[in-house]
Each structure stands twice: as structure tokens, then as C-alpha cells.
Subunit: 187 residues, 2 copies
């Protein structure tokens, strides 16, 4: 299992983020990223499905951890409570705040990267919905609970990466959940 230089994937990820942040996503060519990482363009596409995916390498793990926490929620939990279990775990997986900030900035600057992020989040929502249904939650209930959880996650995450925010991610998640409850009480 030898390689010429170890961790080609890690070098590609680092090179891509630097170039995207420094000169913009569209202005960066895959050949540039590969060159900076010391490999060829073809090798880039062996590690990542496309030019965007390089920014979303850790997303499977986030989903796995979220689902595990959701599955570990007490059997007596309501659907939205089980989702809250999962989301609190998801947000505590994100450790490096400065890295998240930089990555978010790059994504926010390019619609096609936003699309990919939205797809990942939709996948997380669908997976949570499926997990809820396996707990016996009806489909519509499961879907609305899961998507509400994703909204809470993103709103808390965005505030967590905002400048001047000192609260922990879990605190922000709880605040978003509380606000969601207040919002829907207005119906």
C-alpha cells in the first residue's frame, strides 16, 4: 500500500481551500490545485468526484455521528426530541471554528458551492427522516421534524461562525430550537 508521498488527499484539500479562498472558486483550475499538491489532474478526480466535492470531505462522518446520536435517543423521546439529540451531537463534531469560518466564506461566495452544501444538508435531513420512520414515526411527521432540525442546525452553525459570537455551538442550537418552538406557536 505504499505511496510516493503520503496523504495526497489531505494535500489536495488544503491546496484547494487555499486557492479557493485566495483567488476564488471559479478562478481556480483543478490543474492548479493538483500542481500545488504535487499530483496530476487525473489524481484529483480519483479522490474527489468533482471540483466542488473537495470542500465536503467530512460530511459523511457528520451524518454518521448525527444518526448514531439520534438512534441513541431514549425510546420515550418525541420525534423532534430525537432530532435534537442528533443535532446537538452534529454541531459538537465541528471542532475548528476558524477552519469552519474560512470554509463558509468560500461557500457563501459561490452559488454552485451553495448548491452542493444544500444537497448535503438535504441528504442529512432525508437520513434523519428515514431513521425516525424506523422508530415508528409517520412519514410526514418524520420529514417535518428532520427538516426543522436541519434549519436549526444551519441557523446555529451560521451564528457560531459569525464574528463576535462567544457562545458555544450547543448553546446556539438550544436557542434556535427554543425560537423554533416560539415561531410555530404563532400558528
Amino acid at each position: 500500500m505504499g505511496r510516493w508521498e503520503p496523504d495526497a488527499q489531505g494535500r489536495l484539500r488544503g491546496a484547494a481551500l487555499e486557492l479557493y479562498a485566495h483567488q476564488g472558486f471559479e478562478q481556480t483550475t483543478v490543474a492548479e490545485i493538483a500542481a500545488r499538491a504535487g499530483v496530476t489532474e487525473r489524481t484529483f478526480f480519483r479522490y474527489f468526484a468533482d471540483k466542488r466535492e473537495v470542500l465536503f470531505a467530512g460530511s459523511e462522518q457528520l451524518q454518521v455521528e448525527t444518526l448514531a446520536a439520534l438512534a441513541a435517543a431514549p425510546a420515550s423521546s418525541s420525534a423532534i426530541e430525537a432530532v435534537a439529540f442528533g443535532i446537538e451531537r452534529a454541531v459538537s463534531v465541528l471542532a475548528d471554528r476558524e477552519y469552519s469560518r474560512q470554509r463558509s466564506k468560500v461557500i457563501a461566495a459561490n452559488p454552485s458551492l451553495q448548491e452542493r452544501e444544500l444537497l448535503k444538508l438535504a441528504g442529512l435531513g432525508a437520513a434523519m427522516s428515514a431513521a425516525l420512520q424506523q422508530r415508528g414515526v409517520p412519514p410526514l411527521t418524520a420529514r417535518l421534524a428532520a427538516e426543522a432540525g436541519v434549519s436549526v442546525f444551519t441557523s446555529a452553525f451560521d451564528r457560531w461562525t459569525a464574528d463576535g459570537e462567544s457562545r458555544t455551538s450547543v448553546e446556539l442550537v438550544r436557542e434556535s430550537f427554543a425560537e423554533l418552538r416560539t415561531v410555530t406557536a404563532g400558528l
Copy 2:
């Protein structure tokens, strides 16, 4: 303002949907669509920003109508009530159920089309959130109310296009809103 044959845009939209539905999105080339519509590939890109956008031509109008309805909600409405006004209007704009069914099928079959749809929906959510903030609703409240509205919209729309569903779209929206309220009451 003359043209060789009128409604090139309409012909391109029809040709694209047919080909996407019949042989798949990725198996269809832009040159094929253009040829079927009787124009060149270059003309396709004059009407649509990219190969995916041809399926999302009516989305701006949907957003405009939704925002207008939201703005017309009584001043005494809560944030989520104002959103409900907008969403009920949005769903009643979708007239042709069979067309929606076919289009949804094509989109569901291809992740890159799902990405584009998610981006459009996120845009609708952001616009509703901005409209709510102009009504004096605080940012976090506005965002959660708007995204909840989008979830209600998509869940109702998907059920509306499901086989064997006979209820009207507005009925389904109201049911989704009621279910959302029940779900968040579990917190």
C-alpha cells in the same frame, strides 16, 4: 423584434423536458435539445444560463407571487402566519399537476438537478426571511419561520404530485402546517 420562428424559448423548454424524461438528463446533450428546437447550441445558452436552468424557468414568478402574498398579509399576523399566506399563494400558482409530476420525476432522478432545485428553494426562503425582517421580525425568527414555510411547501407539493392523491394543494399545505405545529409542540 422579429424572429425566424416564434417562441424559441418555449420550444427549448419542451424539447429539454421530453429528452430528459425519455433518455435521462446526463444522456441528453445540449446540442440535441437545440436541434430538436430548431436552433443552435449557442442560442440555448442565450436563453438559459446552463443545461439545468431550462427546467426552472418559472421559479422567479413563483417567488414574486409568494412575496406579494406575504406582503399582503394583515399587519397583525405573526411571522409564521404571514409565511402561511405566502405559501398558500405559491402552491396555488402551480396549476398543471401532470406537468409538475413529470418535472419532479426528472429532477428526482438526478442529483445535480436536485441541487438546483434546493438552491431555488433556499432563495425563496431567504427572500421570505428578508420580507419578514422588513416587517420588523428579528433575524433568527424570520429565518426559522421562512425555512419552516419552505419545508411545508415542499412536503405539500410532493404529496400533491404523488399518485392517488386527490386533495387540493391548499388542503395539503394546511395539513402540513398543522403537522408542523404538532411536531414542534413535542419539544
